[in-house]
């Protein structure tokens, strides 16, 4: 297995090179003036566009610009983010934990709920439960995330005043600011850092702020996983081994959960892996509505403002995430189905 993993990691370098060339090429289709305009915000500043083109060598040949950028990246300098007003690397560690925290809670729920709903739907096929679950799935999948998030916010925050937007309550936020030595940002995620610093109130409040974003994420995304699981289970339950298994005395629960569900999990692992990987770039709608400035928000703002260093860095990051996700999926395949050997 180790040679397999090493091969995949070597493959990562090729992927990153390919992705960076592709994205760089696309960004170069914007004129040097347009790329320089990213640095200005008002008509007053527009007079400096020619200077900016010159200062940053934006009219140099494409390969010169690429080599220059690559040289900087190799030395660990990912550039300056205009949107974040910080170096890209530093900004990344501010935004990524926000997205990761949301996914840490949402992803297990999505996977568990998707598998459970899909399994139960298949087992109780064409019953009221199955119909309800499918309607729930279709509604969830069809709902525009932005709209659903807004409705949740209006009801639970606007009307019931229960789950506020943001990341942490202002009073707690100020309390932490006043005690920089007592509260260490180990992970950048308040739910975990609160516990690590012995301040459970911080963790609880951060959880309170996560309820609506996690609910939105789960309801909108779970449908896909549930559908895949349901189809897989139905297919497995119709296979020849099910009747002999029952004839040999295996109870229904064993047949469903130990045999059929295990076999049906292979496509689910693929989809779940991709979903988790994709979720690392954040959900723009969830982050905007619930005012959690994470990766999705950063990427959207950077794309709008043509913040090139950020766009390039995000592409590299997503390249890494997807190669690692696929690697993990392959390893999980082998774990779920011993017939699959990694070589």
């Amino acid at each position: 297995m180790i040679p397999f993993i090493l091969r995949r990691l070597l493959f990562l370098i090729l992927v990153l090179f390919g992705v960076s060339v592709l994205i760089f090429g696309i960004l170069m289709t914007f004129s040097p003036e347009r790329r320089a305009a990213a640095y200005v915000t008002t008509p007053q500043q527009a007079k400096d566009i020619p200077n900016l083109v010159r200062q940053y060598g934006l009219d140099d040949p494409v390969y010169v610009q690429y080599v220059r950028w690559m040289g900087e990246v190799i030395t660990g300098n990912l550039g300056w983010s205009l949107v974040a007003a910080r170096p890209v690397g530093e900004a990344f560690w501010r935004y990524f934990p926000i997205t990761l925290e949301l996914n840490l809670f949402a992803s297990p729920l999505i996977i568990w709920l998707g598998i459970w709903l899909g399994t139960q739907s298949a087992i109780h096929r064409n019953t009221a439960f199955d119909h309800s679950a499918r309607v729930f799935a279709i509604v969830g999948w069809s709902l525009p995330t932005f709209l659903f998030a807004l409705v949740l916010l209006m009801v639970f925050y606007g009307y019931f005043r229960m789950f506020p937007p943001g990341i942490l309550d202002d009073s707690l936020s100020l309390y932490i600011m006043d005690r920089p030595d007592a509260f260490v940002r180990y992970t950048g995620m308040y739910t975990i850092d609160g516990l690590l610093n012995g301040m459970p109130a911080v963790s609880l409040d951060a959880l309170r702020h996560l309820v609506l974003p996690v609910t939105t994420q789960v309801i909108v995304v779970v449908a896909l996983l549930m559908r895949v699981m349901r189809s897989g289970m139905i297919e497995e339950l119709s296979k020849d081994y099910v009747v002999p298994a029952r004839a040999k005395g295996a109870d229904l629960k064993t047949v469903h959960l130990a045999h059929a569900r295990k076999n049906a999990l292979i496509p689910v692992v693929t989809v779940a892996g991709q979903l988790v990987g994709l979720s690392m770039e954040g959900s723009i709608a969830v982050e905007v509505v619930f005012n959690r400035q994470g990766m999705g928000w950063w990427l959207a703002e950077s794309a709008t403002q043509l913040d090139m260093p950020v766009l390039m860095a995000m592409c590299l990051f997503m390249g890494v995430v997807f190669v690692l996700t696929n690697l993990t999926i392959d390893i999980l395949y082998a774990a779920i189905d011993p017939r699959i050997r990694l070589a």
């Binding site: 008509p43 527009a46 100020l174 905007v288």
Partner: protein
């Protein structure tokens, strides 16, 4: 910025030309001798007993250093061009090729001088908006020793070049602050929140508010809910949401016309090279010639085709000032000049006369652009296009939206026959607006390729004299010429609406400051 750092002087109440002293001991005037009779020397006595947040004492040396350091840094896209223009006669430390102008740092060095306990500014020519520039956020005072210790200019003019135009992220004071303001920076998380904390060593009255948090909340619905629930004391209200805010209870609303104007600028010499916005580039029914708007009749026809009243009521619910020239309400020497009233018959008459009748006979086709997401400009573009097209079936105007940054690049390449764009005051003086829109080298005048020698001469005369009567005459005439030459179509002067929770008191509206600014020391709850 102005909550953390302080300038020498600041605007008095809502006034744009009255000042109060801040770090200056008193406001210099002709009467008290602070301003010389020729308007070229300004002398400031510096307030005593003022502390910086980090404990340093304010001295006149700090003031001299701050102005020099700010001008030496002069980053691309920054606001230092204003003070540079006033003190050196040139709005930049670099030439058009980006190279440092020889001798510019020596000029800066001599322009601000320490004279005993006073600071003296030497202007090459009288510059009437100078006091307004000193009240701006780019004229704030730093602690010299502290700034040098952080890596700012070392105080030696011979080394100035190495501190000029720092790259993004290389400005030492970008993330830290040490001013004399009533509030200090407690924390700054870019694009998330800024926390201000009352500075107990403040020289002035103790502010009522102890802590203030500014949050970046992009989504309007989220902002509105925070205001309704009392989790926010004030939120930024965009124009389309004003009726929603007016219908909400428990709020206190303030209206303030902004010193900003938006106009549809008519380019008299469009770039014909591969330009899809002028179709065939000829007057053959499928395009317009590059000099289409150089014809006065065409310009007047377009101006007559804009229905100002409907625009005001339908788009702004009446909450807008309809400008008659770029010298908008609130600026000195403002006057209402005539406008080309909405009259489609007159519009048709002008179009029949234009290009010896060819426009009317052959028709034309062009593209009218506006920047994406600006609903007010989009509405103006559609109204104008539809009214013109209603005159003759051979007239075709396609309205397109373009990303804002693309828009900036394109109009500067003379690609748009009409570009709709706004201008906000850098300082409250007609020069900042009339030069911009009318001078052949103004930011918009240049890209309209509008040139009138009398206008250019008047613009220079207006800024080079401090004589009130002379300036009134010059700017009055310029506003008349705006109408006579039908230079462009002024669209709107926005009225900002601020929505506070009704327990928040003390806000003083000011036309120079938009909703993103808050003078915290005035507020109480």
């Amino acid at each position: 910025m102005l909550n953390l750092y302080e300038p020498l002087v600041f605007f008095k109440g809502s006034s744009t030309d009255g000042f109060i002293s801040v770090l200056a001991a008193e406001v210099p005037t002709l009467e008290n001798g602070g301003i010389s009779a020729d308007g070229k020397t300004y002398t400031f006595e510096i307030r005593k007993g003022v502390k910086f947040h980090e404990g340093g004492d304010l001295t006149p040396e700090d003031v001299v250093y701050s102005f020099k350091r700010n001008m030496i840094a002069d980053p691309d896209g920054g606001p230092q061009w204003m003070i540079l223009e006033a003190l050196t006669g040139n709005g930049s430390t670099r030439d058009s090729d980006g190279k440092i102008i020889p001798g510019v740092f020596e000029t800066i060095d001599k322009a601000v001088e320490l004279d005993g306990d006073t600071v003296v500014f030497h202007l090459p020519k009288p510059y009437p908006p100078f006091m307004g520039i000193l009240a701006y956020a780019s004229s704030v005072i730093l602690d010299k020793e502290w700034a040098m210790a952080q890596g700012c200019w070392d105080g030696d003019i011979a080394n100035a070049a190495q501190y000029n135009n720092p790259a993004p992220g290389h400005e030492p004071l970008q993330k830290i602050a040490n001013g004399t303001g009533a509030f200090r920076m407690k924390s700054w998380e870019p694009s998330r929140q800024f926390v201000f904390e009352r500075f107990d060593g403040y020289w002035g009255g103790k502010p009522s508010i102890e802590t203030a948090i500014f949050k970046y909340v992009k989504e309007w619905s989220t902002r509105k809910l925070m205001l309704q629930n009392g989790d926010a004391d004030r939120v930024l209200v965009d124009t389309p949401y004003i009726p929603e805010v007016e219908a909400t209870t428990g709020l206190r609303l303030y209206q303030m016309p902004q010193l900003a104007v938006t106009a549809a600028c008519l380019c008299q010499k469009v770039n014909p090279a591969g330009n899809p916005n002028i179709g065939s580039g000829k007057l053959d029914g499928d395009g317009i010639p590059p000099d289409f708007f150089a014809d006065m009749d065409i310009r007047k026809a377009f101006l007559h085709a804009f229905d100002r009243e409907t625009y005001k009521t339908d788009v702004f619910n009446g909450l807008v000032v309809m400008p008659t020239s770029p010298n908008i309400e609130g600026l000195p020497y403002h006057k209402d000049v005539p406008v080309y009233e909405f009259d489609l018959e007159k519009s048709a008459e002008h179009l029949k006369k234009a290009f010896e009748g060819q426009v009317w006979d052959k028709g034309f086709s062009m593209v009218l652009t506006h920047n994406t997401g600006n609903e007010m400009r989009e509405a103006a573009a559609h109204m104008l296009a539809e009214n013109i097209m209603s005159l003759n079936p051979k007239f075709r105007i396609e309205v397109r939206n373009v990303d804002w940054k693309d828009y900036l690049v394109q109009y500067r390449n003379f690609m748009y026959p009409i570009f709709i764009i706004g201008w906000g005051a850098d300082y409250a003086d007609p020069h900042n607006f009339l030069y911009t829109f009318m001078h052949s080298q103004g930011v918009y005048g240049r890209y309209m390729t509008y040139k009138n020698d009398e206008v250019d001469r008047l613009c220079t005369e207006g800024i080079e004299t401090a004589d009130f009567t002379k300036r009134a005459e010059v700017y009055g005439r310029l506003q008349d010429i705006w109408y006579e030459d039908a230079v462009a179509l002024p669209l709107y002067q926005q009225i900002d609406v601020r929505a506070y929770r009704d327990n928040v008191k003390g806000f003083v509206p000011h036309p120079m400051f938009n909703q993103e600014w808050e003078n915290l020391k005035l507020l109480s709850k």
